[in-house]
Each structure stands twice: as C-alpha cells, then as structure tokens.
C-alpha cells in the first residue's frame, strides 16, 4: 500500500505572530517556519504503518512556494520515501489545496492519504474533508488511533463527547489529531540521507487545477487585549471579589 502525506509549511507554533502595520496580513519576514505540528503526527503515523508492514511506500507532498522543499526534506528525514512539491506562489486556499492533492492522488494512486486535522496558521480544518469529497472516498477525521487490516481501515476518532469508532473500505482519507502518536525527532544521519531522496516538482497548471482564491481577506487585526494582571492575596479576598466585584458568585 502507498500512503500520501500532505505537509504544510507554517509559522512555527512558538512564534508570536504579528500583524503588518497596514493590516493587510501577517508578518512572515524573518520568522521561523516549521512543518505544521499535525502533519508531523501524520508523517509519523505513516512511518509506523510502514514499520508494521501495512504500507510499502510513503510519499510526502506540499503545495506552496519553493521554500516548502525544506518542509519536504523534514518529512523525508522523518521517514517518507519521496516527495512532491506542487510549486505555486499563489495564495493557496483549502479548496485549491484539496484540488491539487486530488490531482496528485490521481497520478500516484495511493490507498490512504493521512493529513493533519488542521493547519495552525489558517486554522481551517478543511483540506482532508474536502479532499475526501473530491475523491468520493470515505473520511476519518480527528483520528487518535488507526488500524489497517486487509482493505479495511478502523479509526478511533475524537468527537465532542468522547470517542467514536469508524470502519471503512480503502482507499480513504484520515486526518490526524494530537493524540494519534508522538512524532519522533529526525536524527542527523536521517537528515543527511533525506538530502539524497527524490523530490519532484509539479506546477498547478500541469495538474490542470485552477487555484484562484474564492475568499478575499479584507483585513486582519489583533483582538482587543484583555486587561488582566489583577492579583489577590488569598482565597478569602478572591471569593469576596468574585461575589461583590465580579458578581459571578452568589
């Protein structure tokens, strides 16, 4: 079985994001970029499935600017066998990414696509579900446990009140939640080996995909700051303030 793992290059989760002074977007100049944390989990899950003998090949794919090659090299260092960059400087929105990935699926014919559940920059939580729709494949989002046996996939999903188990026929789409696994670190020898693994580049045009944005960002702004910082000396003062000042206790 072949597994496709889409990975996104995002601003590192530790960076304090700043809005550009003109409110047109977020400042990305000289900011540390990393692989989306959920995508590390997706790569790790694919590698574990290969280690268990359930998968033969793992192909990482990223859509975006040339710099996404870095992210793909990280995926290769974590265990992916080869990588595909769908190179575009356009603003690639979830529907466009899903269409590009669907075109890559048509070429690569994987049995399973494992994505992150959400990119921590746009916080959309859409691409996996959209890809499944475009392919007419079943989906198992927010996965916290994945098992493949024969042509069947069994996934435990994190739902609002607890967990749900879904069973589906392959091919299928899975999106990874935080509890699916704990990703390994790339070792130095694996980082060196990754440099020699194949990385192909495709263009949206060659895939026949129109990536024109469907939504326009009119402005971005930082939310009003909360006025915090008030300290109380002890529990008695806290309770008195909650009762008499905040009036949230009776």
């Amino acid at each position: 079985m072949k597994i496709l793992v889409p990975v996104k290059r995002v601003i590192d989760y530790n960076v304090k994001v700043r809005v550009k002074p003109d409110g047109s977007g977020v400042d990305t100049a000289n900011v540390k970029m990393s692989m989306n944390p959920f995508d590390e989990i997706a790569v790790e899950e694919a590698v574990r499935l290969r280690e268990k003998g359930a998968a033969a090949e793992i192909v990482a794919v990223s859509c975006g600017a040339a710099a996404c090659q870095e992210t793909l090299r990280t995926a290769l260092a974590l265990g992916a066998d080869r990588a595909i960059l769908v190179e575009s400087d356009a603003d690639l929105q979830p529907l466009a990414v899903a269409k590009l990935l669907a075109a890559v699926v048509a070429r690569e014919q994987p049995q399973l696509v494992i994505l992150g559940k959400q990119a921590i920059d746009d916080d959309s939580n859409q691409v996996g579900q959209m890809l499944a729709a475009l392919l007419d494949w079943p989906q198992a989002t927010f996965a916290s446990k994945v098992e493949v046996s024969g042509g069947t996939l069994v996934v435990k999903r994190e739902v609002d009140g607890g967990l749900e188990t879904v069973e589906m026929a392959l091919p299928a789409v899975v999106t990874a939640d935080l509890r699916l696994n704990e990703p390994r670190y790339a070792t130095l020898p694996n980082i060196m080996k990754a440099k020699k693994k194949p990385l192909d580049t495709l263009k949206p045009d060659a895939l026949g995909v129109d990536v024109t944005p469907r939504t326009v960002t009119l402005s971005v702004a930082e939310p009003p700051k909360r006025k915090g910082g008030g300290l109380v000396a002890d529990v008695k003062e806290l309770v008195a303030k909650l009762r008499n000042e905040a009036k949230v206790l009776s």
């Binding site: 746009d122 916080d123 890809l131 729709a133 939640d177 910082g229 008030g230 303030k241 206790l249």
Partner: protein, 314 residues
C-alpha cells in the same frame, strides 16, 4: 433564497450549539430552515421548528442517520441544498460541524469559512487565525456560502416562540463504504463543557488523574464543568474531550478558573472570551496572569481545598 442550518442533536434533543447557530443565521438573512437528519429524531425536529426565527425544520429519518458518517450526512445535506435555492449552509464549529461542512463545500465547489465569530454582512465574516492571536475579515465570493460558526460568539435563539412547521423529507440512500461501529461517550452529571456557566480547568500541575478529584470537589460547589489543558489530557489525567484550546473546545463561561495552567497561546485560544478569568498558579511569572482578572499566586494543593471550603454553603 434561504439559509440552511445543519442541526447538531442527539436525536432526542438539539445540542445547545444549534440554537446559537440559528442566532448567527438570523444575521445572514431569512427564511431560516433547520435540517434535522437523524433516526427517531422527531423530538429534535419539533424543537428546531419552535426556535425563534426558524421558518421550518426539515426532518429526515433513516437508520443510517442515527449516528451519521460524514459521507451520509454530507450526501443528505447536498440533496436538500440542490432542490432548495439556499444562499448559506451553516453548521456549528464543533467536531460534528467541522467534520461535515468542508465535505459539503467541496461537493458544491465553493469555499468554506471556518469558525466565524462575527457576521459583517451576508458575505463577509470575521474569523480567528493563528490560535486567535489574529482575526481576519474575509469575504466569500461563491454563490453559496458554507460556514461554521463559533457558538460562544453568538447569542442563542430563544428555544420557543417560533412558529415553524416540521416538514418530512425522504432520506438519500446509505452511501455504504463506511460506518460508525462504536462510541465511547462519557456520561456526566456535570454541565456540558462548551456551554457551562462556570468552568474549572486543570493543567499539568495536577500531576495525576487522582488529583483531579480536587477540582471535582471545587466544581461540585460551583455547579461547574471540568476542562483541562492539552498537557493534562496528553498525560492521561482526564479524557480527550476535556481539552480547551485552539485544537480542543472553545468555552466562554461567566467564570473560568485555570488551575496549574501556564497560559500557552494555544490554551488561551479556547477560553479568553470568558467573562471573568481566575488563575491559580505558583509561578508569579506565568503568562496566564497577564489575562486573568483575579490571579492568586500559590500552590494549588493548598489553595484549591481552601477555595472549596470557602464556598461551602453558608
């Protein structure tokens, strides 16, 4: 032209998020139709028709919709949208809505706008990005707008006072290919986390599942729901669905008490719209104090029992 709300329900009743979505839908236009797709969900369908502002509830009943897969629910919504002339399809930004809304949007070949916190106009929305450290105002250009809305950002429509009709429609056939084979839903006497008036949340500092009993005792006094940071969930102290934050639940109670939680941006993303925030942490430098209305620097193992005792019925 109408607005279609996808109801979240457990067949017997509507989930609280649904009425908030109806509240948000009222800002998009009218009439509002609510789709209740389920099995033996007459109760939920009746409730939807009675909600203020709802013109009708569309009730679809079939065994495969009892706990529908995304495939089946999306197929059902598409069948309704295709013969209905809808301008908007609106779902709650909960696990339920997030699972299915993008699938519907892709089938319609339109964008989906996630996690809307404000409606500027019928095609322009505000939504958080980067764990809520930035808010974007976005305009959707497609003819049909598929949006998920954050329940805590919109007042709930009144549960009664509407005069809608319940209209039954046939179900589309089971897509097959996938099915729900099990559920582990914890039953709790406590209020639902996402809609509770008071939330007591614990972090890594609780150090064990056993110690969460301290928070339970406090929550009992306050009639509160219990939440947690990712660190506490990852360590297995509490179940996954307790997680508050960027990738967990969004809460906005009247009172949020953060116990032994440092205040990482990913946690704040899920609770900083709370009316009053209390932080209990032994580190005076903890970032949570920067947003807390009332900070108490101290050891939680001393402070929490004191607080519970102080709140004893007088």
């Amino acid at each position: 032209m109408a607005i279609l709300v996808i109801a979240e329900h457990d067949n017997a009743a509507l989930k609280s998020a649904t009425l908030h979505v109806v509240g948000a839908a009222a800002r998009l236009g009218s009439p509002i139709h609510v789709l209740v797709a389920g099995s033996a969900a007459q109760g939920a369908a009746q409730a939807a028709a009675q909600a203020a502002g709802v013109a009708k509830s569309i009730h679809v009943d079939a065994p495969h919709l009892a706990q529908p897969t995304a495939e089946n629910l999306a197929a059902q919504v598409l069948a309704i949208v295709q013969d209905g002339g809808y301008t908007h399809v609106v779902a709650p930004a909960t696990g339920y809505g997030r699972n299915v809304a993008p699938r519907i949007a892709a089938k319609l070949d339109v964008a989906q706008v996630s996690d809307v916190t404000a409606v500027v106009s019928p095609d322009t929305f505000v939504r958080p990005i980067y764990a809520g450290s930035v808010f974007a105002t976005v305009q959707a250009k497609d003819a049909v707008k598929v949006v998920t809305v954050r329940a805590t950002s919109f007042d709930a429509a009144a549960a009664t006072g509407g005069a809608g009709q319940v209209e039954s429609r046939p179900a589309v056939p089971d897509v097959g290919r996938s099915r729900v084979t099990g559920q582990e839903i914890a039953k709790s006497e406590r209020p639902e986390l996402a809609s509770a008036r008071v939330v007591v949340s614990g972090g890594r500092a609780l150090a064990s599942a056993e110690n969460f009993k301290l928070l339970e005792a406090l929550a009992d006094r306050l009639g509160a729901a219990i939440g947690a940071s990712r660190a506490a969930v990852d360590a297995g102290y509490v179940p996954n669905d307790y997680q508050v934050g960027q990738t967990g639940k969004i809460v906005a109670p009247d009172l949020y008490i953060a116990v032994g939680i440092s205040g990482a941006i990913q946690h704040l993303a899920g609770m900083k719209d709370s009316k009053v925030i209390v932080a209990i942490n032994k580190d005076p430098e903890a970032p949570i104090f920067q947003i807390a209305d009332y900070g108490l620097v101290g050891d939680l193992f001393e402070v929490v029992p004191q607080l519970t005792a102080e709140l004893a019925p007088r």
